[in-house]
Assembly symmetry: C2
Homo-oligomer: 345 residues x 2
């Protein structure tokens, strides 16, 4: 029988369809109330949700033109010296809504009279209950320790928020296609993924993405690390050239998140540079010429607008991490003594 | 004869003394002009300078109460969709002042009529020449590929900016003590550092810091990675509990940046948790009870205010990375084919 984790990975297309159906109107109403009320956005999040925040930086930055800062929760908790906000929106992202430090950021923001928005699977959680507005993830309970569906639904929450805030019906229509793209990707990747076994004795690797898929690189690395214990380091292609490129001399493979779009050429160039130094690639892309340059190529559909590729490109990464953990004999539903809700303060 | 890198590490106390002497008045004048003109700060930086930006997030956040965002340069370059700034200060940090993407962020900020500040070793560089204000690093030319003195002087630039912006003479007086603390640290750490050889065959490690020293964790990891090729991953203690803690089952050591102050107890707790799971530590601290818990303990002076520990705590980390690279037979002045100025766009 499939693991709980595998079931949760596979149910993502249906969960996303339901989330878009049930939450879109509410997100639109929230946007109608918030529009024009803030000049910049602060996001507080940890772990997987922090990777969703990275996606928000690019999506709300590029389409909605807001400067976005990731909060430093310890300034609110350990140091008790919070920044002074003015005309800002503070967004908390936490599937459980239980993180004390994320809650502390939102509470301080409310104290300062700022608008607050919670993105959570539990609207009745402390974070949900204390925020002015809530976007619900509609994921049922996520039983696997390793977050998958709550990550992709958080990205969709952000995409819906971006589209409605800009009153952009065309982009909302694009979001509605995500469940189909996800389902197609699960089918298309299956054959390549048996070959995850190649990496059974891998000790470390880098994961590279840029722009919208900078978040995908971080989330892919986190899934590999959580499930397998393999050290996986996320980088943008720009930062990778500032030093870490030295590591490829040791033969470690690099996972490249390289969909068509504005970052494609930069990634293609890096792939060539690294291959010239003897490096080996695992590639997630819709571009068949790039896929061929990987020892392992995992295809995604070709017609996805770049800003929505992160929700789809993470799927092969999730399954890759799952298959690799299985090849290593890990109990993927209870990996390495991790717990679902991590208390941080 | 000592390597260029070692000479540059050792000259830091003198460079910092000169930088503080020669630049403080100018920084004060810049602050007098900028005070009250902005509500939040955006920082654009890459590589080592990005770690200085992490320090700025905590220092300008906690003492000056500004929300701070790290810029996403690709929104300005690849995507050509920059955010809309209002009443903001945009700071670029680049020792060379040559990074095209950092320059693009500052140019767009000027186009939008925002205040711009460059922190650079080359005031006449493109970034320096285009900014409204410049803080100069006074480091002479940094010949080693691996940045050391330009990192610590960037931190001092930020500390001076924070103190003068708040018109806080007491904190300025604290900054003036940094060169002595640095010199003392170089002396005190020498004996422990011969033991860097223990890690000759190390393949990966984690580096943990929080708050002001979150930056130190990133910079320590980057130096180890650049000089030795060992995979070193930086984490805050909070994020480390969200998954990566699983890696310690493999016996990898953890470097903890754990000075006295608000984060000390959190770090001490994590050290206990990890040691209970069999993990091994390298510890940089002024606290003798914590230092004893490390297989290798590197002391810093006891009387440093927490906000200034990053300039001092990075020194043992730099020397540790240097000694380890030497033990591995690396030419530390030309490690792994890295180049000094990395072109990113």
């Amino acid at each position: 029988m499939a693991s709980i984790l595998e079931q949760e990975i596979r149910e993502q297309p249906e969960i996303m369809r339901r989330m878009i159906d049930q939450e879109s109107k509410k997100v639109k109403a929230i946007c109608d109330k918030l529009r024009g009320r803030f000049d910049y956005i602060i996001i507080a999040a940890r772990g997987t949700s922090d990777n969703a925040a990275r996606y928000a930086k690019y999506t709300l930055g590029s389409f909605n033109h807001f400067p976005i800062a990731l909060a430093t929760p310890s300034l609110f908790t350990l140091y008790n010296r919070p920044p002074q906000f003015k005309r800002s929106l503070i967004i908390g992202i936490s599937q459980s809504g239980q993180s004390l430090d994320i809650g502390a950021v939102l509470n301080e923001a409310r104290r300062q009279g700022q608008a607050t928005l919670a993105i959570t699977n539990f609207p009745d959680s402390p974070m949900g209950a204390n925020a002015d507005y809530v976007i619900e993830l509609h994921c049922d309970i996520e039983h696997a320790i390793c977050a998958t569906k709550t990550y992709t639904s958080s990205l969709i929450a952000i995409a819906l928020f971006s589209a409605f805030l800009a009153d952009d019906q065309a982009r909302f229509n694009q979001v509605k296609k995500i469940p189909d793209w996800m389902a197609q990707t699960i089918l298309d990747c299956e054959p390549s993924l048996d070959r995850a076994e190649r990496y059974r004795y891998l000790e470390h690797c880098a994961v590279i993405g840029r722009g919208f898929n900078y978040a995908t690189a971080f989330e892919c690395a986190l899934k590999i690390q959580e499930l397998t214990g393999i050290v996986a380091e996320p980088y943008s292609s720009a930062d990778f050239r500032h030093g870490p490129i030295a590591m490829i001399d040791k033969g470690d493979p690099i996972i490249a998140i390289a969909p068509s779009g504005k970052v494609r050429d930069d990634l293609a160039k890096l792939i060539n540079e690294v291959r010239a130094r003897g490096g080996e690639f695992i590639i997630i892309s819709d571009d068949s010429s790039l896929l061929k340059q990987g020892k392992l190529g995992m295809p995604i559909p070709t017609d996805i607008p770049e800003w929505l590729t992160p929700m789809v490109a993470i799927i092969p990464a999730q399954i890759f991490a799952l298959r690799l953990a299985e090849a290593m004999g890990v109990d993927v539903d209870k990996p390495h003594g991790l717990s679902k809700v991590t208390e941080t303060w």
